[in-house]
Amino acid sequence: MARIFAYILHKGGVPDDSAAELAAAARKIDPAAAPTAIATGWSSELEAVCAALSGSYEEVWKIAHEALAYPNAELIRKALLKIVPSGSVVLLAHDHFGIDLAPGLAIKLDAAYAPDVLGIERIDANAFQLIRQEFGGQVSAHVRCDISSGAVLTIRPGAFKPQPSTPVNGTVVDKSVEVGTVTAGRRYLQTVVAEAGDVDITKHSVLVSVGRGIQGKENIGLAQDLAEALGGAVSCSRPVVDAKWLEKSRQVGSSGKTVKPKVYLACGISGSFQHLAGIKGSPFIVAINKNPKAPIFRVADVGIVDDILELLPELTTKVREMHGVSRK
């Protein structure tokens, strides 16, 4: 069986949540696998990360370089190429970093590539059967992946549940010298932190969240009215921000805000995994969507198949009635 590596992203000296999920994915490939974690970075932060990882991975490869203080995918790819043996299986999280690094890594390792994997089954020594999703999660697909010359897989965040495992006393192997110096045509300058915006959706217990189904800026008021009647706020999914109907600070999802409401009304939102990743704390999720096959119905507690443009005003009227507030 090919050797399995998990590249672990980290921040502030703490390994990313994906560290345990990648280990779980490795065990799906081979229950007896002892995957090797790889962490790159610099200074005491990297030391802390490697120490933490050695509690769950039997072997941790450390690559310490000042140039790697920020995870620049091109530099990291070049570093990995110097140390990862050909034919290996390399796992990464399917996030903004995995998308940046993994496709090019697969080419340079001459390995098969399968992105955004939700399920893994080993068919034989040379093939995996994988589960992926297409069309925004509306359908799933089985993918046969030839791993005879190795494979790079990015793993859907949250798809592999970390299993409780006995703590190990892993070894940290310093690979820095083997890697040597690497240079890149892309240079990190700075990180710009998201602006706060007028309304802090992370503080609200009721969110009326709108997606593409709201159809236009002129209809945002329908959600605003309901949110006001319910004492909540309006949030949204990515297409609404792309279309400039609402500000970026209202976006829920992995590239937006993480919210923890009690009640989340998803109105005209299909329910991509990137969007769902921004909803934490197990709220009561209501889905209203014209498309009965929208993935949001799979995760919602209650659903209505209807046009939000017609349903929202009726909900607002009813809430106002229940409050005993007469209109105007």
Partner: protein, 263 residues
Amino acid sequence: MEILVCAKRVPDTSENEIALDAAGNDIERDDLVYSINEPDNYAVEEALQIVARVGGKVTVVTVGGEDDEEILRREMAMGATQGVLLTDDAFAGSDGRSIAAILRAFVQMGNYDLILTGVQADDGAAQVGGMLAAMLDYPFASLVNAMEVLEGRKLKISREIEGGNKEICEIDLPCVLSIQTGINEPRYVGMRGIRAVASVPIATYGAEELGLEAPTVGANAARAKRVDYFLPAQGKGAEILEGSREENVEKLLELVAAKGGLK
């Protein structure tokens, strides 16, 4: 600046409910509405805006068949200088790596300063841009949501990272960037614009002209092959309210109130 945008024609998920066919292992393909992959359209708009500022030419290329010409014409109606179709029976069944290999062969016939792709397409793979860059040994950045042309053959770019934060980088040209939706506001294309380019010839290249040998691309070269489609496990799924609209409103608010959503 010579800019190449790689685009794909896809079933439009905002217009279609994707369902399984009668056999249950493929999607129902009759009556699907197709359009240009949305992030690719943003990429073309970005290319047009750059060329408007610094001069140059925008070429839009796709790998596919005759039907895919419609998106090339649409993007030409937007203002792209030319459309190119890479088509050959030998390309059928290509995986992401083979698509990247076909595109690389085309890139090497030209002299592009900048190559753009959409961040991802209908299969959600987000792979071709990064693969193409690695094959060409060009720098690459994904999820680009802003860019600026600098002196000295380089760009300043912004990448969308977690929590709405942005990573700002400098990147040398030539490079490959994958473009995130929302980077700009793509211009509207009317029927009149489409008609104006209806008879403009689309340059077409096959495997031989691209110097590609059949076994290196297409189904036989694919290392990741889709076996079938199926419906995802339903989990517990939502309780669907199936009453009249009025009944649904009432029932829903009852449930919401019980969960503390009504003050």
